[in-house]
Each structure stands twice: as structure tokens, then as C-alpha cells.
């Protein structure tokens, strides 16, 4: 029905000789407002700790999906300190950023690599992605409410209704954007935190899903050492492979 209306409008616009219409958009203002409210609130946090229970899916070549579980623990001190520990079925990773260097440590194989880093978490997210194809886990928590939040990408937004995540009362919203359908459960009240995220990749017909259930601690106790990498005696230093230009081939 939405689509029909969109087509009708498009047809009307074309018929009246206006410039080419944008694709049909259907964004519930309350959903967009809730997203903004959450983002604005996230940007007020100075330090926090989040534990995320994550399940993610891979699609095999024949279309079969397989699921993996992991637990991610984030300790952040804005704007420039971050510790992310990922314990997965397949890999164990520690991401450390102390405001000047970034280290990735693969615990089970005992390899780590360290590089100079920019001066904010936001820039770090960009740099490691562009240079090394590394995505900081749950990077959305650092981007919502800021200039890098891709709200412009959203083509559809809906308020699904009330929800409960781990006993916390939330409102459940659903969004669509190119290549991705996603849902967020936002805590009701003065602390509009994302409590659950479900991302459905739509570029593969098998539609693999990535789910995170978040438990927040807004008053974490920690030592500054938490952000500094102290290599274990049996760890070996390696390098990051740099992303080459697409034109370089291969």
C-alpha cells in the first residue's frame, strides 16, 4: 500500500513535469525523533561500559546460513580511550586505544599489532576501517548523534511498539536503508539507551542477521591502565595488512 502511494505520487510528479522524484520514503517522525533522542543522549556520556551478547550469521556459498556467538565488552572514556574485548566461538580479540596508539591483540594465537592512532574514537573508527578494513565492534554507539550517523540513509522508519529487553522496558523501532533493515529497542525514560540491535543484511537473499543485546553500566570503575597494551611475554608483534586501492587488482 505504501508502495502504491509512492508510485502514485511519482506518477503525478512525472505527469506534472517536475524533476525526477526521489524513491518513496515513509519515515514515521516518532521513530526518527527517537533515534535522534537516543543519539543525542549517547553523545552526552563521558564514560561507560557495555556488555554485548552478540550472534551473527555467515552465508555459505550454497546459501546455507551458520550462526556464531560472541560476547563483546566495551569500556569507553570519551573522547579518546577505548577497550573492546571480544570473546567469540572462533576468535578472541582485544582492541585497545589510548588516545595515541591502537593495538589489536589476537589472544589465542598470541599475535598483536600496534599503530599510531588519531586523537578521538570517532577518527579511529574511520582510520582503521579505511586503512586496515577493521571495524571497531559496536561502533554505532560512538557515531549515533554525531556527524557520522547515517540518518540520511534511512528510507523507512517505523515505531513497532512497546518491547522488553532483559526486563527493561523499551520502545521498538524498525528502519530500512539501502542494503540493511535494522531494528533497535530503546530504553524508555531519561536514559534512552539502545538495549538491543538487530541488523538484517538485505544485499544477500539469505539475509544474514546480526543481533546484539546490550547491558549498560554508566558508572564504570576502571584504571587508566585498562586502555594500555602490555604485551604478554609470549605475544608476537605482527603487522596490519593495509587495504590497497581497488584499482590495484586482485
Amino acid at each position: 500500500m505504501k508502495r502504491n502511494i509512492g508510485y502514485t505520487i511519482a506518477a503525478l510528479l512525472l505527469a506534472t513535469g517536475l524533476s525526477a522524484p526521489l524513491p518513496a520514503q515513509d519515515k514515521a517522525p516518532e521513530a526518527m525523533n527517537a533515534l535522534n533522542y537516543m543519539g543525542t543522549y549517547l553523545r552526552t556520556l563521558k564514560d561507560f561500559q557495555v556488555e554485548a551478547v552478540v550472534t551473527t550469521e555467515d552465508v555459505l556459498t550454497d546459501g546455507q546460513k551458520v550462526q556464531f556467538g560472541s560476547k563483546t565488552n566495551i569500556l569507553a572514556q570519551l573522547p579518546s580511550k577505548l577497550r573492546v574485548s571480544v570473546e567469540g566461538e572462533q576468535k578472541s580479540r582485544l582492541f585497545l586505544y589510548d588516545g595515541s596508539t591502537f593495538t589489536l591483540y589476537a589472544r589465542r594465537v598470541g599475535y598483536y599489532a600496534t599503530v599510531p592512532a588519531p586523537d578521538t574514537i570517532g577518527k579511529l573508527i574511520d582510520v582503521v576501517s579505511e586503512k586496515y578494513d577493521i571495524q571497531i565492534p559496536l561502533l554505532d554507539l560512538f557515531l549515533w548523534g554525531g556527524p557520522k550517523a547515517g540518518a540520511d540513509e534511512i528510507t523507512s522508519a517505523d515505531d513497532i511498539g512497546p518491547g522488553v529487553v532483559e526486563g527493561v522496558t523499551c520502545e521498538h523501532y524498525a528502519f530500512r536503508q539501502p542494503g540493511l533493515d535494522w531494528q533497535v529497542w530503546i530504553q524508555l525514560g531519561d536514559h534512552p539507551l539502545p538495549r538491543k540491535l538487530v541488523l538484517t543484511t538485505t544485499t544477500d537473499e539469505a539475509r544474514p542477521q546480526h543481533t546484539s543485546v546490550l547491558t549498560w553500566n554508566l558508572a564504570p570503575s576502571y584504571s587508566e591502565d585498562a586502555f594500555v597494551f602490555d604485551p604478554p611475554a609470549d605475544a608476537h608483534k605482527i603487522v596490519f595488512a593495509e587495504v590497497k586501492d581497488a584499482s590495484a587488482g586482485n
Binding site: T61, F68, Q90, R93, R108, S129, L143, T201, Q209, V239
Partner: protein
């Protein structure tokens, strides 16, 4: 008869594995490098992964780094649905979705018979270090591998040693040197010339 086989196959497999693994397992961290992939990242047989973030497209994936992995570095992903749930018909589907023919280090012969049933999913990694190691040992004995400088692999052949040169870590496996690297957050090994 079936019962007989079912009872003894796991034990037999274990014996084979033990025999193969013991001499092949490198001392402590000497190398081998437990093959680690995925976490999201699977072996070479993965055609896509769920996007993990809203605000950052996984733009580079599928780009160069991933291509390297997809084209050169084939990790065995063994999704063994061994449905041995007290039924008379044994459905043992050992599907090696990705067998690296060129480099037999990844050929998995018996490693996937894990726990004598039950689902051992999610591919190659962590605990399968033993299983894969065993399989590698079996395969490597019969195989001469040709390695091309610049190619990438996700797992090392057996019996490697960590060597340091110019402050960088290498794995020396026989006369071949591998440089471990983080490629898109996963560990891979690039075949390099001798650093000496």
C-alpha cells in the same frame, strides 16, 4: 553391526588423531598457529556475512583484503551435521564446503569427526586446532606443497617456528617463511622470501 561400528569409530578416530597430532604439534607457540577465522569471518566458503554496524557500511569487505582471503586462503569449513541421534539410519554428512586442492595443508580427512556425533559447527577454528592439525599431519606426509611468494594462507603447515627479523615476526616452516598479518581483523599468513 552398526552398533559395533558406532561404538568403535570414535575411539578409532581418536587414536588416529592422537597418533597424528603428537609428533606434529609444534612446541608451545612454536607455530602451527591455531587457524582462526571468522567470528563472523568464516572460511573461504563464506559468500557473505551479516553487516555488524548501521553507520559504517562494510565497504572494504569484498575489496582487496577480502579478495585475498577468498581467492588464496582457503580454510576448511566443516559443517558436520552428524545426526546420530539414536536412530538406525546414520546420516553422516561431512561436507567440506571448501577444499583447497592446490595446497593440501587444509585438506581435512578425519578431523571433522568430532565428539562422535553432535553438531560441531562453525568451521575450522579454535578447538579444531587439534582436529585440523591431525588432518594436516596426515595430509602433509603425502604432499609436497608448492608455495608462491606473496600468496596468503589462513593456516600454516605443521612444524613451524617463530623467528624474528627486523623486529617483525615470521613463521618458518621448513624452508618457507610466512609473515603473519591482520587482514581485516583476522590473522592470515603471507608467503614471503627469507627475511635473512
Amino acid at each position: 553391526m552398526k552398533t559395533y561400528i558406532r561404538l568403535f569409530t570414535p575411539a578409532l578416530a581418536l587414536l588416529l588423531l592422537t597418533a597424528a597430532v603428537l609428533p606434529a604439534m609444534p612446541p608451545t607457540r612454536g607455530g602451527g598457529g591455531a587457524p582462526q577465522r571468522g567470528g563472523g569471518g568464516g572460511g573461504g566458503a563464506t559468500r557473505s556475512s551479516a553487516r555488524p554496524n548501521v553507520n559504517q557500511p562494510s565497504g572494504n569487505r569484498g575489496g582487496n583484503a577480502s579478495n585475498n582471503r577468498a581467492s588464496n586462503a582457503n580454510t576448511n569449513r566443516n559443517n558436520n551435521s552428524n545426526t546420530n541421534v539414536n536412530r538406525n539410519n546414520n546420516t553422516n554428512v561431512n561436507r567440506n564446503t571448501n577444499v583447497n586442492v592446490d595446497r593440501n595443508v587444509n585438506v581435512n580427512t578425519h578431523g571433522n569427526y568430532y565428539g562422535g556425533g553432535g553438531y560441531y559447527g562453525g568451521g575450522c577454528c579454535y578447538h579444531s586446532g587439534i582436529g585440523v592439525g591431525g588432518a594436516v599431519a596426515v595430509a602433509a606426509a603425502a604432499t609436497a606443497t608448492a608455495v608462491v611468494v606473496g600468496s596468503m594462507v589462513n593456516t600454516l603447515p605443521p612444524s613451524c617456528t617463530v623467528v624474528m627479523a627486523n623486529g617483525v615476526t615470521y613463521q618458518q616452516c621448513g624452508s618457507t617463511y610466512y609473515q603473519p598479518q591482520f587482514v581485516g581483523g583476522s590473522t592470515s599468513y603471507m608467503v614471503v622470501n627469507s627475511p635473512y
